[in-house]
C-alpha cells in the first residue's frame, strides 16, 4: 500500500491560454475517443442527414422552381447541408446535460483546470463529429447528381462557413445544456427552436414567395445569410455581402454565447 509520491505541478492561480488549450484538447480527446465506441449514436447521426437529403430532393425536388436556378436541387442541397450541420449542434446540449447528470461535470469542475476547458473541448469535438457527418452527406449528394458549379476553393469555403456556423450554434447549445435540468429536457430544448430558425429562411425556398409579414423575418434570419452564402459559393456565384453577414453572425453568436455558457459553467452547475 505504498504510495509513490507524484509531484503534481502546482496549477494555482490563473491558467494561461496555453494551459486552457491543453485542458480543452484533453477534454476533446475524451469525446473523440468514445465516438467509435457508440456505434448506434454515430449511425443515427449519419442516417438523419442522409434521410433529409434524399427526402427533400425526391419529395420537393420536382415540385418547386426557384428563379435563377435551372435545377432546384442545386438550390436546395446547400440549404439542407446548412440545416443538417446546424441541427448537429444539438449534440452539444445533450452531451453536456448527460455529463452533468452523471456527475462528470462536477468531477471536472473540481479539477485545477481552465474553466473554459470542458465547454471548449466539447464544442470542438462536436465540430469534428459534424465534419464527419458533412463528408458523408456530401458523398450522398454527389451520388444523386449534385455538383460544385464554382471553384473547389469556393466550395471548400462554403463548407467551412457552414461548419463554423454550426460551431457558433454549439455555444447556444452549451448554454442550453447547462441551463436545463435533465437529458430529456436537453433533447427537446436543443431541437425545437431550430425548426423555425432553419425553415423560416431561404434554405428551401425563396423568401419572396412567403406571406408579406413573414418575408422580412426570413430575410433577417442569420440562417438565411448562411444559406445564401453557402449556396452562392457552391454554385459559382459571388456571395457578396451575404458572406460577411454570415461571418459577422458566427463571431457575434460565438462571443455572446461562449461568454454566457462559460459564466454559467463556472458559477454553478445546478
Amino acid at each position: 500500500m505504498s504510495d509513490t509520491k507524484i509531484s503534481t505541478p502546482q496549477r494555482s492561480g490563473k491558467t494561461s491560454i496555453v494551459d486552457a488549450w491543453r485542458d480543452a484538447s484533453t477534454e476533446a480527446t475524451r469525446h473523440l475517443r468514445i465516438i467509435p465506441r457508440n456505434p448506434e449514436l454515430l449511425g443515427f447521426s449519419l442516417v438523419q442527414p442522409i434521410m433529409f437529403v434524399l427526402l427533400f430532393v425526391y419529395v420537393f425536388g420536382g415540385a418547386i422552381e426557384v428563379a435563377g436556378f435551372d435545377n432546384y436541387n442545386q438550390f436546395l442541397i446547400p440549404g439542407i447541408f446548412a440545416q443538417t450541420v446546424v441541427f448537429g449542434s444539438s449534440f452539444t446540449a445533450v452531451g453536456l446535460a448527460e455529463d452533468l447528470s452523471k456527475g462528470l461535470v462536477d468531477r471536472l469542475r473540481s479539477l485545477p483546470i481552465a474553466r473554459s476547458a470542458v465547454l471548449v473541448g466539447r464544442t470542438f469535438s462536436d465540430l469534428a463529429r459534424n465534419a464527419i457527418t458533412f463528408i458523408v452527406m456530401l458523398l450522398v449528394a454527389f451520388l444523386i447528381g449534385f455538383r460544385f458549379e464554382g471553384s473547389l476553393v469556393a466550395a471548400l469555403g462554403g463548407t467551412v462557413l457552414m461548419l463554423a456556423f454550426s460551431y457558433s450554434f454549439s455555444w447556444i447549445q452549451a448554454w442550453i445544456g447547462l441551463s436545463v435540468g435533465s437529458v430529456e429536457a436537453a433533447n427537446a430544448a436543443s431541437f425545437i427552436w431550430m425548426f423555425p430558425v432553419t425553415f423560416l429562411s431561404s434554405a428551401f425556398v425563396d423568401p419572396a414567395t412567403m406571406p408579406d409579414w413573414l418575408e422580412p423575418v426570413a430575410d433577417h434570419n442569420p440562417f438565411t445569410r448562411l444559406a445564401n452564402a453557402a449556396r452562392a459559393l457552391y454554385n459559382g456565384i459571388d456571395p457578396g455581402n451575404e458572406l460577411w453577414w454570415s461571418i459577422g453572425w458566427i463571431i457575434a453568436i460565438t462571443v455572446v454565447f461562449s461568454t454566457l455558457a462559460i459564466r454559467k459553467f463556472s458559477r454553478s452547475a445546478a
Partner: protein
Amino acid sequence: MQHAVEASGLVKHFGETKALDGLDLVVPTGSVLGLLGPNGAGKTTAVRVLTTLLRPDSGTAFIDGVDVLANPQAVRSRIGLTGQYAAVEERMTGRENLELIGRFLRLDSKARKARAVELLERFDLVEAADRVAKNYSGGMRRRLDIAMSLIANPAVLFLDEPTTGLDPRSRIGMWEVIEELGADGTTVVLTTQYLEEADRLADSIVVIDRGIKIAEGSVDELKDTIGGDRIRVSIARPENIQAARQALAPLATGTIDLEPGSTTTLSAPIRAGGGVVPQAIRALDDCGADVVDVEVRRPTLDDVFLSLTGRRTAEDNEEVSA
C-alpha cells in the same frame, strides 16, 4: 497546528431553503471526519462549498491553509472529490479514466501510466483495467471513482455518501477501502446518513441538521452526551412491572422508560462503571420480579440524533419527501 479543513460560518440559501445556516467545521490533518445527518441536512451543500463547486453566501473556508473563496484553483489541486454519483466516463476503460485525470493534472505520459497501474492495483481493479467502465459493478465503479480522486495525492479527499446505492457486500468492500485510506493518513471528509458507517469509519463526527452543526466529537463523546450507559431489564410477568420500576429507581440517573411495544421490559440511564448489574438483579429479586434478561448497552448514534433533535433520522426522511 494547521488543519486540513477549516470552515466557519458557512451560509448558503437556495431561495427559502437554508441549506447551510452558519456551519463551522474543522478537520485535523490525517483524520477521518464523518459528516452525519439525514437527507437534506446540508451535507452535500457543505461538500460542494468546500470543493469550490458552490460559492457560499457568506462564511470562510480554508483547505490545507488555502482560501477556498480567494484561490479556488489552488484548492482544486489539493482536493479529491468523489460525489454521490460514480462520476466515471462509462465508455472508457478503468485505465483510460485514470490516465485521463492524470493528463488533466499534467503528469507526463510515463507518470500517468505508472500512477494508473498503481491505483488499479491498490483498488483491486487490475483484471478489469481494460474493460469499459459501463460493464463495472456498482462497487467497482465507486472504487474507480475514488482512485480517480487520488491521482494527485490530494491533501483532503471528499467522499459524498460513498456507499449510497451499493449492495451490502460492496458496502463492506468500500468500508475497507476507506479504512485503509484512513490508516494511510489520508485526510478524509465523509458524508453519510448511515450511523453505523460513521461509527465504523470516522475518527470524529459532526452531526448536522438543517444546515448547522448540532453536535461534534468522537463517537464515544457523542454517546456520552446523552447520558452514558443504559440498562435494559426484562422480567417474566407484566404485573410486576411497577415493583420493578421502584426497585430500579435508586440506580437510575434519569427517567425509567417502558420499552415501546413491551409490557415487561424497562430501560433506564445509569451511571457508567461497574457494580450496577449485580445491584439491579439483587433489587429486582428482592421485590419478587423474576428477571429474564439484563443488558447494559452504550447508546447508538440513532439515540444521539434522537436526543439532539427530538426526531429520529428516519422520521426526517419522511418529512423531506412529504
